[in-house]
Symmetry: C2
Subunit: 104 residues, 2 copies
């Protein structure tokens, strides 16, 4: 729980998620949308990955990042569950699967 909120407590990281919600991208493509230097983007991606909300896939010399939307929503519904009947229902209906697998 801590990792995901730390990860989301950053405007650039939330923006990265928005971009990845559209389609998977390489680090360079993501960086093109920011003023920030690539190493900084790379670190933000590492934080998002540690929180489980993005997944990484090497493709030649490129690294493609993709949103893991169920991890994002699942963790937040899990947090909301004690505060909201609807979230509780949704969270229960979604058994959190560990390593939901990255299909090729």
């Amino acid at each position: 729980m801590d990792k995901i909120f730390k990860a989301l407590a950053s405007e650039p990281r939330r923006r990265i998620l928005e971009y990845l919600a559209v389609e998977p991208m390489t680090v360079g493509e993501i960086a093109d949308n920011f003023e920030m230097a690539m190493p900084s983007i790379s670190k933000h991606l590492a934080v998002l990955k540690a929180a489980g909300v993005v997944r990484e896939q090497k493709r030649g010399q490129y690294v493609i990042y993709a949103l893991v939307v169920e991890a994002l929503t699942g963790q937040l519904y899990g947090f909301l569950a004690p505060y909201c009947g609807e979230a509780q229902r949704i969270a229960e209906a979604r058994p959190k699967r560990r390593g939901a697998g990255l299909r090729e």
Copy 2:
């Protein structure tokens, strides 16, 4: 959006919300549940209040804090909406009312 995630990116602050989910409490009562000194708790409460997720009410020399659960859930559903049809539906069904008023 930034304020709420910054507010939630702290274990002590999330714990405070859990306590307040049970019942409103004074600062001292909240502090009793922590190792932390009261001024620190007071500051955490200020952060939560700035994010709109708790409300403050003076009662004599005491200050009673209460969870504003709709603000907590509403903001998170708002964030989730673009990522999840269910959240979108819930967020739309809940017009975010500004200053939902603290009734005495």
